[in-house]
Point group: C2
Chain length 146, copies 2
DNA sequence: GCATCAATTGCAAATCATTCGCAACTGAAT
DNA sequence: ATTCAGTTGCGAATGATTTGCAATTGATGC
């Protein structure tokens, strides 16, 4: 998540419970991992962080799908064909963007967002409702510039 | 392409020739199809437009890779795990965005772009070089709103 | 505590988009 | 017409993601 301090695990499990979902070993472990990582993680990366025998890759895929549906994680697409996920703070919608190094894949979180009034104009002009956007920046980070 | 009138096929084949690439049946057919479609097409869609026996899907994948490298087509990512391509006008870099209906997948081309000065500031603030962005809008089109 | 049952997991097989190896083929230049 | 690098068609390999299914396991009520 990007909004600041780590969420309590209790707050996370509470959200699951409210949906009559089970707090299982794999899910708790996944949430723990996400809670400790400030950057978007791929399912494989989460899998690698899991203690051996701590869960199956398919379980992670299913967990992320559920967590995304519940709005607890946000899916990001860096254009490399692999989904990445970040924990979303309660009350937050997790909307933000990233600046990704095309050499080392380093990620920086970006506060700036596409101007709302322009988005509204785009929506109005074309008659579209509920318009949102997906935006990511790419470049070469300081280290990779040599 | 988005910049206006259709390009002459001759101009396209000329660009290939300049790179000592062959103007083969499949490639000519693909360029013809792209020339007649104002919207981003998936490789499968291109394949479907091809006359039966007019080419293999793998050939299309290879052709799009080549055309992208030569800057003749631009790849777009609508976040559904399938690449889409649009012809790029000569002298143009093809940079533009889309507004995609999440119900019917209808696509509208958007002229607006992320403000350059903000992008520059993002690049400078983080020390990144050669910063670009990927931006697409999503919403529900007039027809799909009922 | 313990039974109960839906939710969940592990594992393997199935999908999907995309890439690759390779022998056969074909433009383009001579 | 000859020649050869660039291409194609196939089928097999990848890689990410999904799914079927039987076995397990939280959460709830007693």
């Amino acid at each position: 998540m990007h909004s600041g301090q780590k969420q309590e695990l209790a707050s996370l499990t509470g959200r699951l419970r409210r949906e009559s979902r089970k707090i299982t070993g794999p899910r708790a472990a996944i949430l723990e991992i996400l809670r400790h990582h400030p950057h978007p993680l791929t399912n494989k990366e989460i899998f690698a962080e899991l203690p051996k025998g701590g869960g199956d890759l398919a379980t992670i895929y299913r967990a992320m799908q559920l967590l995304e549906k519940l709005g607890m994680v946000k899916r990001f697409d860096f254009g490399d064909g692999t989904a990445r996920f970040e924990l979303v703070g309660e009350g937050d919608d997790g909307h933000h963007h990233h600046l990704i190094c095309t050499r080392c894949a380093g990620v920086v979180e970006i506060a700036e967002c596409f101007p709302e009034e322009i988005e509204r104009r785009i929506a109005r002009t074309n008659g579209y409702a509920g318009v949102t956007h997906r935006l990511e920046f790419f470049g070469i980070c300081p280290d990779c510039q040599q």
